[in-house]
Symmetry: C2
Subunit: 247 residues, 2 copies
DNA sequence: CGCTGGATTGACTCGGATCAAGTCGAGTGG
DNA sequence: CCACTCGACTTGATCCGAGTCAATCCAGCG
């Protein structure tokens, strides 16, 4: 059984056996974190590379007035700050959302890995490209989509990303996001998140409950959000619309 | 006189003379573009690397309903899509805002440049890191800042980035952004952009007119927007607050 | 069994969108 | 030199999606 990191990378490029072993080895002995723990904070010196193996985390920034904006969700398989050590200080914080297992790879080890395994390096570059595309997709959502569209779009994204690493089970996904975190991510208030989730439930599109998400009607969700998966640059074809077919 | 690209890179790392010459050479003979021309469109095959030498451009996405969201502004010195060729298709479009001179470097030439000049490679990595941080800053703006704060924040960012490559003249910056493009970038309507610009003018903070921006009171602008330049990871110290001191 | 963090619901407010007229300025052609 | 045009900018009146404020509910847990 390959770990989530390897599984994600293999979704991006073909890795030879030797590379897989090396990457597996580098990510054994993950550190355990409880929920809501900062891995690193804005202003901290940049450090090693974090690789999520289990659980969820998020990047966020705090504004002068105390409000918070989440800028990315990280799930198993996601790595962060590959090149971050090229600059001196973090410009944002990273925090676990749920309990998590996170491998910590030193700058030095990562450099060796990249040097000796060009395919791995390429996979990391592609992963960064996708992260960037995802940031752009979020900007589009915040700028031009209604709250209903925005939530739908995010859920499509998370579901699809999660399905890449086998986190989904049919139309179901374990998703430990509270309405408060969702509000911080989508630029809305928890109250309004609640109302929109209710609306999506009543539309029969999806149901987000404590700890998990159920996609009841992928078609509707895609139609509402105008979701186009092209920015995730997936190699495999199976998409959101395939969810229903596979059931 | 070094071109804008070299000037930007030198703001990120120290480049030796040989590297500078090579980069200069690679960016001679730029292509000329008129305003509002697409360099590449969403869905197109990924291609060469574009390097802005003069004029402005933007990345954008069009939504199903026809509305548009700009996700980044590109000014002289900015390069785009260094690693984009690792994926097959563009997930967004790029368009000139003003007339522009843009060097086009083939994938092959770029690979050679990166291979033979590690400092150049490092500068490009840092540039990408900053681009990513800028995307996050935009998300924060769209999610948690009022329209007044949002415009102020963007103007701080653009002024500071422009000053890095010597585009500013005291408190003045040539900036060919229409209120319509600004609206598409900030997730607002042109009408409201107009009103907020008027307010900023009346506050004596800044004045955006046809084709140029004047920062009248950097302090106020920074205070309104809560601008923190840390995400731009500049090496030089001179900031927005230095504008006034230098006058 | 009460405490706590999240979820839910209702009443009211408000920032920014929408709709609808203008105005201004740089071409451009007669 | 002036009329015409077109794109961008302005301004006012009105509307509405989402925020704010304030209870209340609910489940897990020490």
């Amino acid at each position: 059984m390959l770990n989530a990191f390897v599984q994600k990378l293999r979704g991006l490029v073909d890795l030879d056996a030797a590379t897989i072993v090396r990457v597996e080895t580098a990510t054994t002995n993950p550190r355990l974190f409880r929920a809501k723990q900062d891995l690193i904070r804005e202003g901290d010196m940049t450090g090693p590379v974090f690789v999520m193996l289990r659980g969820w985390a998020c990047r966020y920034k705090i504004l002068p007035n105390g409000s918070r904006q989440v800028t990315a969700f990280m799930m198993p398989g996601d790595a962060c700050d590959l090149h971050m050590s090229l600059v001196t200080a973090m410009d944002h914080s990273i925090q676990t959302i749920s309990a998590a297992e996170i491998a910590i790879i030193s700058r030095r080890d990562m450099d060796v890995l990249i040097d000796e395994h060009p395919d791995f390096a390429r996979a990391m570059d592609i992963a960064q490209l996708i992260d960037e595309a995802t940031l752009r997709a979020w900007i589009v959502s915040m700028g031009r989509r209604s709250s209903l569209e925005r939530i739908s779009h995010l859920m499509c994204e998370l579901y699809l990303r999660a399905s890449e690493i086998g986190l989904t089970d049919g139309k179901r996904l374990t998703l430990p996001l509270t309405q408060l975190i969702l509000a911080d991510a989508l630029g809305m208030t928890p109250v309004h998140i609640n109302r929109v989730l209710k609306e999506l439930r009543q539309l029969g599109a999806m149901d987000l409950q404590r700890g998990f998400l159920v996609i009841d009607d992928p078609d509707t969700l895609v139609r509402i959000s105008g979701f186009d998966e092209n920015y995730l640059h997936r190699r495999s074809a199976s998409g959101l619309l395939g969810v229903r077919a596979s059931n």
